[in-house]
Symmetry: C2
Subunit: 422 residues, 2 copies
């Protein structure tokens, strides 16, 4: 935002990544969101610049102006020959740690001083990638005619699955943080909006301490009406993943998973059973995918098909929530699918049950009361078309693209059972 | 998503807005997110179409194919001469109310059957406008080099202002839903990301029953570093509002407030005092704007300047939170501003205090303990540049653009002290 001070001068603003000296020439390596830049200060610089340079500490925020010139050894092939220098945000001389060493610092200390931690090159790249994913998805879905909507985070009734949710004290009531904006997305379809998406938070009150789970995460959740079957939904999801990965791939230094030119391979659970059987593993298609099946399937996709993204369809109805449509040909299976990348689940989706009578039957089968869900099911009496959708975890997708080991490194300020500060 | 059944046939999918008969010709007025379309069924249609037509009810979801032809009296100047018709989501014959009459239905009933209510023309337009605002802002800020970030909704420490927040039971701890992602946006700036924004939810646990307040709303929150002063921030906000309003204005039927060609007028509070004094109202610039001052100022802007959007700057430091920077020339005033549209506050913003020592002084002045905020202030020891930001209420902006009286009509599923369902 700071304007240029003189004609033909270039302004660089950022953080002092490093300070070096070679003979009488000083170099400041400046970190900006667009990458590193070399600032070069020769002995004939002004007294003011010399004075500023004297007290300059690493990680200070500075603004420099000068002339940009080619420099073969500098990052990006140019350097800024400094004419003016301002220290606009000085850093203390002793830092808890230097950002570029943060990978060697224990996680609790990294999180205590998260603003330093996030200045590391890996985190800076992650931030750029996640932003590119989010902006890329918005542009793609706008082009495809999808409307962005906001559905509630506060749920007046407990979650559909009965699993772990966070209670909220809402005046004199107890309400809950949504696990997934699923039911309200369906009500939005019922409201006459046939192609919708939402980018927003979701919560899981699980005492999990893995590198894959967060208590607060974000999803891109999509719902689309007037579908023929769940394959229409899968095509929409593939389009979004392609748009997100392609947007991230434009950032220098990013080597995302390979999208491949052909559509993502799709496996029914019967096919999965046959594939893993050849490797000596027994899998029952009426059970959820176990870890070993996931691993063997990924090896097959990688070694035989040379692909990174793939989908699995036809999960057992009994392990799926009541709102998922059964397959008419074999009601033991649901019109449900998962998207995988390199053996890791990225997303779940499927066709929803839009027929009021079938919906009530599914609720009975799930052992739930019609009364507790009447606030939801009543809307299906007044004209709801066939529809389906999915939710993609934004941090999970970021993790796959940047190759981070811990999902906590794909969120600015992670929330897990131990951490809610900063 | 449903594919065309025959060559040269057009497919229309949507909801039955109305059914009419003129002689032997039947008309179905179909509602889609792109507007109304006339389906025309002549006497020589197929038996299948006739059979479907027999039982067709208003608000059913249908798919029709046929030939598109000019029709002067039809919406959009064309009609679909129907060849095939499928009722994919039948509606019950007796509806709680007809969507287009929903304005006459009491609010509680409208919310109980929200999916019908949202099918009214006003709501359908609101949904399109809000989506255009959101997508327009993303495109604009991406173009301007802003990174989209996600900051936490769950706060481990109570809000900075001590005002009403919703407590969340977080395992064995009590945490809080954010009022505003303010402090974490500042920590993101401190993390070396100099132009950021976030589009997400915020909550206020206020027992207010006005037509302007929601307990759950959404903001577009922006923070930008390396600023000269708060006027840099105001220019960013004006750019966003212009992008949002221009995106909404592309939708037929939308008559948004006027942006004007020149920059939004800006008033200091001293100027506001002088303007309202001429109308006989006494206002003290060291107090917050009272309702009468807001009203008189708006009349002046409307009648004298012929503008809709305007800004007010220089609020009293003592009524502003600790993180707002004082004006060095007169510390009784803060580097803070509000954006107004037609007398209604849209947004608050300002320059933040980035100097660690000044920040601690502000905390002392605010009567808060340094210890309770050390989790936040520690980050300001390690190089934080001058920065500022603001938050725009998305529902409030929608309300101004569509001219809705009640903000509940600018959100799909509103949450207020009485309502958390559906």
């Amino acid at each position: 935002m700071i304007q240029e001070h003189q004609p033909q001068a270039t302004t660089s603003a950022g953080w002092v990544h490093d300070i070096r000296k070679t003979g009488s020439v000083q170099f400041i390596i400046l970190r900006t969101m667009e990458g590193l830049r070399q600032l070069t200060i020769t002995d004939d610089c002004s007294k003011e610049v010399k004075a500023h340079l004297q007290g300059l500490t690493k990680e200070s925020a500075i603004v420099a102006t000068g002339r940009l010139q080619p420099a073969a050894k500098a990052p990006g092939g140019t350097e800024l020959l400094v004419q003016t220098l301002s220290i606009v945000g000085p850093a203390e001389k002793i830092l808890p740690f230097v950002p570029r060493d943060s990978a060697t610092v224990p996680l609790p200390k990294r999180l205590d001083f998260r603003s330093l931690d996030l200045r590391s090159p890996d985190h800076q790249l992650m931030i750029r990638v996640q932003s590119a994913i989010v902006q890329g998805i918005h542009v793609h879905l706008a082009k495809e005619g999808f409307k962005h909507v906001f559905t509630p985070c506060l749920m007046g009734v407990p979650s559909e699955s009965g699993s772990a949710v966070f209670p909220v004290i809402y005046f004199d009531k107890e309400v809950f943080l949504r696990q997934d904006p699923q039911l309200h997305r369906q009500l939005t379809i019922a409201s006459g909006v046939d192609k919708i998406y939402e980018m927003g938070p979701a919560w899981r009150a699980e005492q999990s301490h893995t590198t894959k789970h967060l208590c607060e995460h974000r999803v891109c959740a999509v719902e689309v009406a007037f579908i023929k079957d769940e394959y229409d939904v899968m095509r929409v999801e593939e389009g979004i993943i392609r748009a997100a990965v392609e947007a991230a791939a434009l950032i220098p230094g990013v080597i995302p998973p390979s999208l491949g030119k052909d559509p993502f391979p799709i496996f029914t659970l019967d096919e999965v059973r046959d594939i893993v059987a050849k490797k000596g593993h027994v899998y029952d298609p009426l059970e959820d995918l176990d870890k070993e099946t996931e691993r063997v399937l990924w090896e097959y996709v990688r070694d035989t098909l040379h692909r990174d993204f793939y989908m699995v369809t036809g999960f057992a109805s009994r392990i799926k929530p009541f709102y998922v449509m059964e397959d008419a040909k074999d009601p033991r299976h649901a019109r449900s699918f998962d998207v995988y990348c390199k053996g890791m689940e990225l997303s779940s989706g499927g066709q929803r049950e839009h027929r009021h009578d079938h919906l009530l039957k599914r609720i009975t089968s799930a052992g739930m009361s019609h009364e507790s869900l009447e606030w939801f099911t009543r809307h299906f009496r007044f004209g709801v078309p066939p529809h389906g959708g999915f939710a993609i975890g934004i941090e999970r997708l970021t993790q796959m693209i940047v190759g981070a080991e811990n999902i906590r490194d794909c969120v600015l300020f992670p929330r897990d059972p131990e951490r809610v500060v900063p």
